[in-house]
C-alpha cells in the first residue's frame, strides 16, 4: 500500500505483495537494531521480523487486508506494537521500550516498539484508526483492546474499575482502561482484540 523510490524502507517480513522496477529484499536480523537491539528484543519478547527493501520503483505492502494508517513523524516518537508496524522509512530508528501494565492487559507483553526520527511509518489496524488528540485539559481513556499506537509526550497509566460486583458476575466489561495524560495523539482502532480485561 505504499511506495518507495531510491532510498530504503524497512518492512515487516513478508509484507510485500507486489512491486515494479528493481527491488532487493534483505532480511534484517534483530529488527535492524544491531546486536544490542537483537538481544533486547529476544529478552523482551517484542519480536519483530524485518526486511530491508532497496531499489527503484514502487513496492506494495499489505498485511491480511487490514487497514493501513500512515504516520508522518518529525522528530517525535511513535509507540506501536510490533505486530501493528508494517513498514517505516529507513531513516527512522526503531527500538524497544517498557510499557508496564498496559501491555500486560492486552496480552502483548510488557514491552512495545518505538519508532523515532523524521519520515513516514505505516501502521496496521482492524478498520481505519481514529486519531484522538490528548491535551492537558482533556485526558483520554482507551480500551486496551482498541489501542494501536500513540505519539507525543503522553503519560499512560492503567485504571481499573474492578469492584466487588465484578466478582459477583456483574462486571461491566469495561473494567480496564488506559488513561493518557499530557499532549499527544492516540490511534484507536474500531475493533477490540481479545484481552484478558475484556471479559471482566
Amino acid at each position: 500500500m505504499t511506495g518507495t523510490t531510491g532510498e530504503a524502507v524497512k518492512a515487516k517480513n513478508g509484507a510485500m505483495v507486489a512491486y515494479d522496477g528493481q527491488m532487493s529484499f534483505k532480511k534484517m536480523t534483530g529488527g535492524g537494531e544491531g546486536l544490542r537491539g537483537m538481544v533486547t528484543r529476544r529478552l523482551t519478547g517484542e519480536q519483530m521480523a524485518v526486511m530491508e527493501v532497496k531499489g527503484q520503483g514502487t513496492c506494495y505492502f499489505a498485511d491480511r487486508a487490514s487497514e493501513i494508517n500512515l504516520v508522518r513523524l518529525q522528530g517525535e516518537k511513535l509507540y506501536v506494537e510490533a505486530s501493528n508496524l508494517l513498514c517505516t522509512d529507513a531513516a527512522l530508528h526503531t527500538g524497544t521500550t517498557f510499557t508496564g501494565l498496559r501491555g500486560a492487559s492486552q496480552g502483548n507483553g510488557l514491552f512495545t516498539t518505538t519508532v523515532e526520527g523524521s519520515g513516514q511509518a505505516a501502521i496496521t489496524s482492524a478498520g481505519p484508526a481514529v486519531v484522538l488528540r490528548v491535551t492537558k485539559q482533556s485526558p483520554l481513556q482507551v480500551d486496551p483492546g482498541a489501542y494501536v499506537a500513540h505519539t507525543g509526550d503522553l503519560k499512560q497509566h492503567f485504571q481499573s474499575g474492578v469492584n466487588f460486583r465484578t466478582f459477583m458476575g456483574e462486571g461491566s466489561g469495561e473494567a480496564f482502561q488506559i488513561r493518557f495524560e499530557g499532549e499527544g495523539l492516540v490511534y484507536v482502532q474500531p475493533s477490540e482484540r481479545d484481552t484478558v480485561g475484556g471479559e471482566v
Binding site: 500512515l70 481514529v130 484522538l132 488528540r133 482533556s138 482498541a146 460486583r165 466489561g173 474500531p190 475493533s191
Partner: protein, 257 residues
C-alpha cells in the same frame, strides 16, 4: 499529502459517526451499551453492570431482557465516548414513538428513553419508544419497504411492520425430489429456496453481505407452553411414533410421503 484527521474532545461529532466504523456519543447522563463496545472516551464516565444498585429505576424503565442482561452495561457521566464493533459498519437510527426489532448481536447501544425488550422471535430484541440507538452491520445497511422477501442471513432488523414469516419456494415444497435436493444439494440447490417475507407498512433493514455477525449465545427463553423457542424439547412434536429404520422422519412428514 495531508495527514489523517485528528479528532479532539471538541471536534468529535455529537451523537454521530466519526467514520463508517466508529460512532461518537455525546454523553450527558446515561446510555445503555453492549459490553466491550466502548473503545475510548474523554471526560468522566463510569460503567455499571446491570444488576442491583442505584440504577434500579433506570433498568426498571428501560431494560426488560433478562437473557441479555449480562451483555449490557450502563455508561453514566459526562463526556464523549467512541463505540465500535470489530470494525463492522455502525450507524445510528432515530425512533419516534416507534418499534424496531433487531438481531441481538447487532445492537450496540441505545438511549434510556427507549425501552429494550426481548422479541418473541428467538435471537432478536425489540426497542420501543423515542430515542436514538446504534447498530452494527456487516457492510452498509440498506432500507427496503415491504412487501419484500429477504434472505435470512442478510436480515438485520425491521421497524414498525408486523408479520415477518417464512417463505418457501413452491419448487422446494412440491415434492420429494425438491426436498431431497434442498437437503442434500444433489441435483443442485440454489440456496435461495427460503426467504423471510414482510408485508404491511414499515421498513426492513438489510446488510449488504450474507455473512452474519458472530454473536454470543444468550440462553433460552422460559420453558412455557406457547413461547417460541422456549424449552429444548418442543421441536419434535409432530410424530409420537418411534422412528423405524428406513424412515425418513421429518423429511417424510414434510413432503407427505
Amino acid at each position: 499529502m495531508t495527514g489523517p484527521v485528528v479528532h479532539d474532545v471538541q471536534t468529535l461529532p455529537a451523537d454521530d459517526n466519526v467514520n463508517p466504523y466508529a460512532f461518537s456519543v455525546d454523553l450527558n447522563g446515561q446510555w445503555f451499551l453492549q459490553k466491550g463496545k466502548m473503545i475510548a472516551y474523554y471526560g468522566r464516565i463510569d460503567f455499571h453492570g446491570i444488576g442491583h444498585g442505584h440504577l434500579d429505576r433506570l433498568i426498571a424503565g428501560s431494560f426488560h431482557s433478562p437473557l441479555h442482561a449480562a451483555d449490557w452495561v450502563v455508561a453514566e457521566g459526562q463526556g464523549k465516548m467512541l463505540l465500535a464493533d470489530r470494525a463492522f459498519d455502525v450507524n445510528s437510527y432515530d425512533l419516534d414513538e416507534g418499534n424496531l426489532t433487531i438481531r441481538s448481536g447487532n445492537l450496540l447501544a441505545f438511549q434510556p428513553s427507549l425501552s429494550l425488550k426481548q422479541s418473541i422471535i428467538p435471537g432478536f430484541l425489540t426497542l420501543i419508544g423515542t430515542g436514538k440507538f446504534v447498530a452494527a452491520s456487516n457492510g452498509p445497511v440498506v432500507f427496503v419497504e415491504p412487501p419484500v422477501r429477504v434472505d435470512p442471513q442478510a436480515l438485520v432488523g425491521w421497524a414498525d411492520c408486523p408479520s415477518p414469516c417464512h417463505h418457501y419456494d413452491h419448487q422446494y415444497l412440491r415434492g420429494f425430489l425438491g426436498g431431497l435436493r434442498a437437503h442434500t444439494g444433489i441435483g443442485g440447490a440454489s440456496g435461495e429456496e427460503h426467504q423471510f417475507e414482510f408485508v404491511g407498512a414499515g421498513t426492513v433493514l438489510l446488510q449488504s453481505t450474507e455473512q452474519l455477525m458472530p454473536e454470543l449465545a444468550t440462553g433460552t427463553v422460559p420453558d412455557e407452553a406457547g413461547v417460541p423457542g422456549g424449552g429444548g424439547h418442543a421441536q419434535q412434536s409432530g410424530s409420537q411414533l418411534p422412528q423405524l429404520p428406513g424412515n425418513l422422519g421429518g423429511l417424510q412428514r414434510r413432503f407427505g410421503l
